[in-house]
């Protein structure tokens, strides 16, 4: 059963801003869970109050990654919030090292 189609795509970057309910629709996550992730500092939307929150496309990828890490490493949200930027930095440093090694 092969399916061949042209898919519509969404760039998960900072250019897109979506509301909490759009975010839940796109991710399939419960509002309570997304709210918890925001309150724990895992997700950082623009806006102060829940009804003014705007999530970037990048948040969607981040939420997905956060849930995966939490489960795989049996972390609590505080650890996930701490770990995500550290992993990003590790990745960036390794990438730079790779570039450096390639150009020497």
């Amino acid at each position: 059963m092969h399916e061949q189609l042209h898919a519509e795509l969404w760039l998960l970057d900072e250019t897109r801003a979506i509301t909490l309910s759009e975010f839940c629709g796109a991710s399939g996550l419960l509002e309570s869970l997304v709210t918890e992730m925001v309150n724990e500092g895992v997700l950082v939307p623009h806006g102060d109050a829940e009804h003014t929150w705007r999530f970037s496309g990048a948040c969607l990828a981040r939420a997905k990654r956060a849930l995966r890490l939490k489960r795989e490493l049996e972390l609590n949200w505080a650890a996930v919030a701490f770990l995500l930027p550290v992993l990003d930095e590790l990745r960036e440093l390794r990438r730079q090292q790779q570039v450096w090694l390639l150009t020497r």
Partner: protein, 312 residues
């Protein structure tokens, strides 16, 4: 189907305690978790480790697994006994790229979906999300590219068993995607169960190493070898950019490492990136007396101490 020795995977004995199993998992997770590991094949290894832990940490599942008997060896050809095992579901809602178990696992714990069917027809499950890494060239990002992605999605058949269905999706990548960029293709992941919505497909873009260019975000860097006289006297040279050749003026008195900016010549975007040309001065070797004489003449006419700042 091959038997999986979960004890061997975690490196624990069959009578290991819950604490032993947990400790072994933590250690292996640190070693193979794809976000930190430098081991080759870490993704596949971590998946095996995770699956083994999923079974052995849960008393019911471990018991069901143990009932298969102690005589199986890892990789043995295995046919599951009749009757289902305990349910292996998770309570996670939403994103579900975690249901990626081996065929062996799905067979042992096969009623995990089936059990729900008696309860009512309203039970639905969102399809599985898929993540794929795609490697593209800088040129692809500059011009926009089309990719045909083929992957397997797990689908539940009428008996509630998991089957891997091949799926092909054509994706037109917009111009100016950057390394690390994630792209979501809504509903292009695994199909939902019992009318549930399909999962999403997530792509993560990486650039193939390029002989000439490297990218930092939307900016593109090129190292440009020049001669000492081009650096000293200035020159007009032709340099490659992703969009073709352009003429670049090297100002007189340029030093190695100087960055010259070609505005808007990087990857497309709002705003477009720039191309930076980093000067590398290539010193010609002196092979004969006449050539050595030129360097001596330079030393005489142009004294100076490039290491002045290193004093003290």
């Amino acid at each position: 189907m091959q038997f999986k020795d979960y004890y061997e995977t975690l490196g624990v004995s069959r009578d290991a305690t819950h604490a032993d199993i947990k400790r072994a998992y933590r250690k292996l997770a640190r070693k193979y978790h794809p976000d930190v590991s430098k081991e080759p094949n870490c993704e596949a290894r971590f998946k095996d480790v995770q699956e083994a832990y999923e079974v052995l940490k849960d008393a019911d599942k471990r018991e069901a697994y143990n009932r298969l008997g102690p005589d199986w060896k890892h990789g043995d050809n295995f046919t599951p006994p009749p009757g289902g095992g305990p349910r292996a579901g998770r309570q996670d809602s939403g994103f579900s790229d975690d249901l990626d178990y081996s065929e062996f696992f799905s067979q042992i714990f096969r009623d995990r979906h089936g059990r729900e069917q008696g309860g009512g027809d309203t039970w639905q499950m969102r399809g599985q999300d898929r993540s794929l890494r795609i490697e593209i060239s800088l040129q692809d990002s500059y011009q926009g590219a089309t990719r045909t992605l083929s992957f397997l999605v797990p689908e539940l058949d009428a008996r509630g068993e998991v089957r891997q269905i091949p799926k092909t999706v054509n994706v037109t990548l917009p111009k100016g995607v950057t390394a690390g960029q994630r792209i979501r293709l809504a509903a292009q992941g695994g199909p939902g169960f019992n009318g549930g919505p399909a999962g999403d497909l997530f792509l993560e873009v990486e650039f193939a190493p390029d002989r000439r260019f490297r990218a930092e975000g939307h900016d593109v860097y090129l190292e440009l070898p020049i001669t000492p006289w081009e650096a000293a006297l200035g020159a007009k040279v032709v340099v490659p950019t992703l969009g073709g050749k352009v003429e670049l003026t090297i100002p007189p008195g340029s030093q190695a490492g100087r960055k010259l900016r070609l505005s808007g010549r990087g990857l497309p975007g709002q705003p477009a990136g720039d191309q930076y040309v980093v000067l590398v001065i290539v010193v010609p070797e002196a092979h004969d007396e006449a050539q050595r004489a030129v360097y001596r003449e330079m030393a005489r006419l142009m004294p100076g101490d490039p290491r002045a700042e290193l004093r003290n």
